[in-house]
Amino acid sequence: MINVALPKGRLGEKVLNIFEQCGYDCPSIHETNRKLIFENEEAGVRYFWVKPSDVSIYVERGAADIGVAGKDILLEYAPDVYELYDLDIGKCRMCVAACKGFRDNTERTLRVATKFQNIARDYYAKKGRDIDIIKLNGSIEIAPILKMSDVIVDIVETGTTLKENNLEPIETIVPISARLISNKVSYKFKNKEISKLAQKIREYCETK
């Protein structure tokens, strides 16, 4: 039995679809109810929905054997897991964005609002820039509008939210996509099952 942590939301639905196409279906997951754990003994999988940013925690701690998490989460929390495959879905970029017409004044410390403190810190440390990190949990776009920060570091998919708030991406830090991750110990004790699953998903994604 492989325990799979799926990220709640649109990405998770896509991922579930891929798993199902690969023979790991689970009919009970499509019933409308409030259950959180779904099992298909025949296929040997047990799925559960968790908050996307928590997937790596479930996997790192072994509650889930495998999971799907965005590269942004993996970069930010650096969990001790294996990154088995790039599913090439849920694609977006980690960007620095600012109000339109923003000019960086390098004489001053740069104020950066973000959910991703570690990514932001690493990025500016590489540039040798002194920054002041403002950790926010949502609606990051407001920070530069209200002049609380100079820039934001956040995920940009289409850029619509930015545009509508009169912001624009100014630098791309790293491209992001969804990754298949595995707990390091599960990978050893359930090697056959996990390798087979990873192989099937790889084949499925490559033919698509």
Binding site: N3, E60, R61, G62, A63, D65, D80, V81, Y82, E83, L84, Y85, D86, N183, K184, V185, S186, Y187, K188, F189, N191, S195
Partner: protein, 377 residues
């Protein structure tokens, strides 16, 4: 992964320490009891070895900056007499203080381990790895020992013109088993096709030793990697001779800092524990950094990780709960308790049964008479 409570060989940490110590003594290892503190300088100079630089420090009465031990190996190496006439074989069971990766707070960790220092040959190295495997087997039948060789990885990377930072990136990908990223970096760093193929294969390798060793023979590039393969094969033969080659896998995703480790490295896993419970390897480079000449190999077992699986939760708090009233004399009570304990049972004597204690038997001492009120077996 299910939390299996039925597969741990020890009831608690103390019995674990005892049986592991016994195992190590059998092979001529002597216990090394050390002080809780060490001068901070030792750790400041070897930060990378500790994988995280946080140590608890305090100022000693003479003004020296001291640290609560985050690690035992460094102290043992520092104190070794560096002779080549006879190897030093020591084991320890100590508490160390480190920052927990999850909570970012200091944590006391119970560590049992052993070190072998001196002019090492293939026998001493194999013996240590055999003891690592036996330690795991003592903990649980469901165990795996993964073996890797730093010489193989550095051997492949030595042939390239990569700088340290680029090598670090490659090694990180190997430890994540991230084959796609390896390919990407190999292109980016202009690594030749043969080497890049070796790296990709290396990253993907996982499985039983005999199967994987054939695969790595195919991707061996030079003398250094050849000799690493030969050493691994020798070790495996040794383990076979001791009947503990089951569950020994080859896995290059366990990589340690090559500034400290040079030869074979290994990690042990127990089903049900989400991270490695045993880590070790050959660390001649660390010894040389500390200004000594000998070779060294050793490992540590992290017992705190096992505590969750240990079957210490009994169904009963005591065998007998003895209730007595105000009329009971001390002598009567002592007599009754003595009788019960001498029959090998545990007993708790108190005036009332509040219902919070789980007992096998409920007894009552009244007017000098003992009466069994309830039996729960």
């Amino acid at each position: 992964m299910n939390n299996r409570t039925d597969n741990i060989g020890f009831a608690n940490e103390e019995t674990a320490v005892m049986s592991l110590s016994k195992l190590y003594r059998q092979y001529g290892f002597k216990q090394f009891k050390m002080s809780k503190f060490e001068e901070y300088d030792l750790y400041a100079e070897n930060k990378d070895f500790l994988l995280g630089s946080n140590v608890i420090t305090f100022t000693d009465t003479n003004g020296k900056l001291m640290a609560l031990k985050p690690d035992v190996t460094l102290s043992i190496v520092k104190g070794s007499n560096d002779t080549f006439t006879e190897p030093e074989k020591v084991y320890y069971s100590e508490n160390v203080y480190r920052v927990d990766k999850g909570t970012h707070q200091f944590k006391e960790i119970m560590q049992v381990g052993l070190e072998c220092l001196g002019d090492l040959d293939i026998y001493s190295v194999s013996e240590v790895i055999m003891l690592a495997k036996k330690s795991l087997e003592a903990i649980s039948e469901r165990n795996i020992l993964d073996i890797s060789h730093m010489g193989f990885i550095t051997g492949i990377l030595d042939g390239t013109a990569l700088n340290d930072k680029q090598k670090r990136k490659i090694i990180d990908c190997i430890s994540e088993k991230n084959t796609l990223a390896i390919k990407k970096y190999c292109d980016e760093f202009n690594i030749d096709e043969k080497t890049s193929n070796s790296l990709v294969v290396l990253t993907g390798i996982y499985g039983t030793f005999p199967k994987c060793v054939e695969e790595i023979k195919k991707i061996s590039l030079n003398e250094k990697t050849d000799s690493a393969v030969a050493e691994l094969e020798n070790i495996y033969e040794f383990l076979k001779q001791y009947g503990c080659s089951n569950g020994v896998n080859l896995d290059f995703s366990i990589v340690n800092d090559s500034n400290y480790y040079n030869g074979v490295i290994f990690q042990g896993f127990i089903d049900g524990v989400p991270s490695s419970v045993l880590t070790g390897g050959r660390y001649d480079n660390l010894v040389h950094k500390l200004g000594k000449k000998s070779g060294a190999v050793g490992f540590a077992v992290y017992l705190d990780l096992l505590s969750r699986l240990m079957s210490d939760d009994n169904d009963f708090d005591v065998d007998v709960l003895l209730i007595y009233d105000y009329n009971a004399t001390v002598a009567q009570l002592a007599d009754t308790v003595k009788n019960i304990t001498e029959s090998g049972k545990s007993v708790k004597a108190q005036k009332v049964n509040s219902g919070s204690i789980r007992y096998r038997q409920l007894m009552k001492l009244e007017n000098g008479e003992v009466e069994v009120l309830e039996t729960n077996d």
